[in-house]
């Protein structure tokens, strides 16, 4: 960025420089966020797979009204403000009776008693605490929560992790927009792999082709990802300071769309089961969760939340009057009435998470995520190769690329191994899942330092990834006892999808290993032949 001779500088050259530096400086972290983001697209499926769960639709088969009444009678009155109900991935219905108050970090949080009930309505666990703490300690979601948390915060304390991922989103925006602006022949570049090329020129072509195809996707994800990170880290509180004079509670009520002071006059509530049945009929689906507010008062209301349904893009929230059971409205995502802000937000969520057409759109999002990972990898590899050609001391950069690109997937797979092993030993899965990641990261880092031959290091990590991908379905089966026939019988689509993906990844790793060993063999043969020719000439 030299401002001395701006007029002489070609804009294309400046864009290339910007494109390269934005990728190089934050490339490895960007890869971490893109890779874990690709995994996070199927976080719900991973949650179901890791618990060998098949949704039993307990909300439909249980008597929610009677259960809420029974649990309300044994719960302290101060926690009856709101009740959240959902089916977890262990075939239990969770009821969280809570009020709202500040947690030790100073944030508004839910506080109360959480019950988990099995299909027969028997209480399995009962815990009291802040909603954020209860969720963070819930072993059911230990694996999916851990993988999502790397993507959103890189496991850096709040708000710094969110700020960093927001900056990474901006770096991705720079790299993709400059990549787009650099192309003079965008449509030709989409198909410009030259057959006669190999080695680095082929890699450069592949980088351009994969990058060109994933540009719109990368721009969309970078834009929406920056929004999520910055608005959560400081945007919403900062806007609250300006718009509501710092009254965070007023801000939350404006966003949630509720009146601040509701009547607490006692009044009998309508049957929850009837409201639930009506919501299911209207949406032809089972709600993800129910939120029951101010039950037993004249301001009682029930909200049923649905994931995007067939033919619809956004989430749906149905609100019922809790006193008479009448359907009130389709509530917007933010605010009390439909607005531009709410419409945009309801589009941003499915665009970022790829949830708008179920598993089909998720598969497309994963494919584009893999393409974006490939672009980051090849971009950094091209940079490493260019520098290594002129200066062998740059070999550390190639080593770092192998460590990051193959090490991160292996660490993520190791965290899943930790989840299953700790689960089978009845120890704390919420601790052992991240700990397994850290242990494997240390081991991989040591290997990356001690193994001098980078090709051997690459082969070892490829073999490790392939083996653990094969091992995980076996581990899951031995810990749960649920096999593929049973999974097919119960239509456990999420579980089958994750296992097929693991097997595919394993196959790809072993194929890449085979090609790499073939290349190593050819290189050795060439070296021997050259040496023999030289000896003969002598």
């Amino acid at each position: 960025m030299n401002d001395q001779t701006p007029t002489l500088r070609s804009k294309a050259k400046a864009l290339l420089s910007l494109h390269s530096w934005s990728g190089i400086v934050l490339g490895m972290l960007l890869y971490a966020v893109i890779f874990t983001g690709t995994v996070a697209v199927v976080a719900d499926e991973i949650g179901e797979w890791s618990n060998s769960n098949y949704p039993q639709h307990l909300m439909l088969t249980s008597d929610i009204d009677a259960t809420v009444k029974r649990l309300s009678a044994q719960t302290p009155k101060e926690y009856l403000d709101e009740i959240s109900t959902y089916e977890n991935d262990r075939q239990q219905l969770v009821y969280f009776f809570h009020t709202h108050k500040q947690n030790p970090s100073g944030d508004m949080d839910e506080y109360g008693v959480q019950y988990a009930l099995n299909a027969q309505g028997k209480i399995v666990t009962q815990k009291t605490g802040f909603g954020s703490d209860l969720y963070a300690q819930d072993d059911t979601y230990a694996l999916s929560r851990f993988l999502v948390s790397i993507h959103t915060e890189l496991h850096i304390p709040s708000p710094w992790g969110l700020i960093l991922t927001g900056i990474l989103g901006m770096a991705m925006l720079i790299a993709s927009v400059s990549g787009f602006m650099m192309h003079r022949h965008l449509f030709i570049d989409m198909f410009s792999i030259r057959k006669q090329r190999d080695g680095q020129p082929l890699k450069r072509d592949s980088h351009t082709v994969a990058g060109t195809w994933s540009i719109p996707f990368a721009i969309l994800l970078a834009f929406t990802g920056s929004f999520f990170s910055f608005s959560t880290a400081f945007g919403i509180p900062a806007m609250g300071v300006v718009a509501f004079g710092g009254d965070q509670e007023a801000l939350m009520y404006a966003l949630v769309g509720e009146q601040q002071n509701k009547s607490e006059a006692p009044m009998a509530s309508a049957d929850l089961n009837l409201m639930l049945q009506d919501a299911v009929q209207r949406q032809s689906a089972v709600p993800s969760f129910l939120s029951i507010s101010h039950l037993g008062t004249e301001s009682a209301s029930v909200l049923a939340f649905f994931m995007p349904n067939e033919g619809k893009v956004g989430y749906e929230q149905l609100v019922y009057d809790g006193t008479n059971g009448d359907f009130v409205e389709y509530k917007p995502i933010v605010g009390s009435v439909p607005s531009l802000g709410s419409s945009i937000l309801s589009l941003i969520y499915p665009i970022h998470f790829g949830t708008f057409a179920g598993l089909f759109s998720k598969i497309i999002w994963i494919s584009l995520g893999v393409a974006a990972c490939y672009v980051t990898i090849t971009g950094l590899q091209l940079y490493a190769h260019r520098n290594q050609k002129n200066d062998s001391s740059w070999q550390w950069f190639s080593r770092m690329c192998i460590w990051g690109f193959l090490g991160l997937p292996l660490c993520s797979l190791a965290s899943a191994v930790g989840f299953f092993v700790s689960g089978s030993m009845a120890t704390n899965q919420s601790i052992w899942t991240p700990l397994s990641f850290v242990i494997s990261a240390v081991l991989i880092s040591m290997l990356s330092v001690f193994i001098k031959n980078t090709l051997r290091l690459k082969n070892l990590l490829l073999a490790g990834n392939g083996l653990v991908c094969l091992l995980l379905p076996v581990l899951r089966y031995t810990t749960s006892g649920i096999g593929w026939l049973q999974a097919l019988h119960h239509q456990m689509l999420a579980m089958m999808f994750v296992e097929m993906t693991l097997l595919f990844c394993s196959g790809w790793c072993f194929y890449a290993l085979y090609k790499s060993m073939q290349f190593e063999g050819q290189t050795n043969n060439q070296t021997v032949t050259t040496f023999a020719t030289q000896e003969t000439a002598k």
Partner: protein, 94 residues
């Protein structure tokens, strides 16, 4: 690709496209909460500036990075800074 990174810190363009652009974008976002119509749902003035922040930043960033007229870019950022600071000052002190 130029040599990175130390001499970049001496570059006026670096400071203009980097910290100055970020600061001005944040100020625009905050000031929008004051002047942007809240709409019937009373949330547009909160949600839209948040959504638009990456877009505003990207436009300012690419403009300041690619422009050949640095003086014009400087004055644009100074102008945006002054206008949005004034809006926020009036909101809090007025």
């Amino acid at each position: 690709m130029g040599k990175f990174p130390l001499f970049v810190l001496k570059s006026q363009r670096f400071w203009l496209s980097g910290p100055a652009t970020l600061l001005v974008s944040l100020l625009i976002m905050l000031a929008m909460a004051v002047w942007f119509p809240p709409g019937a749902g009373k949330v547009n003035n909160i949600m839209l500036p948040l959504v638009l922040l990456p877009l505003i930043w990207a436009i300012l960033f690419f403009y300041t990075y690619l422009t050949t007229n640095m003086r014009k870019a400087q004055w644009l950022l100074v102008g945006l800074f002054a206008v949005n600071s004034a809006i926020l000052t009036v909101k809090f002190l007025g």
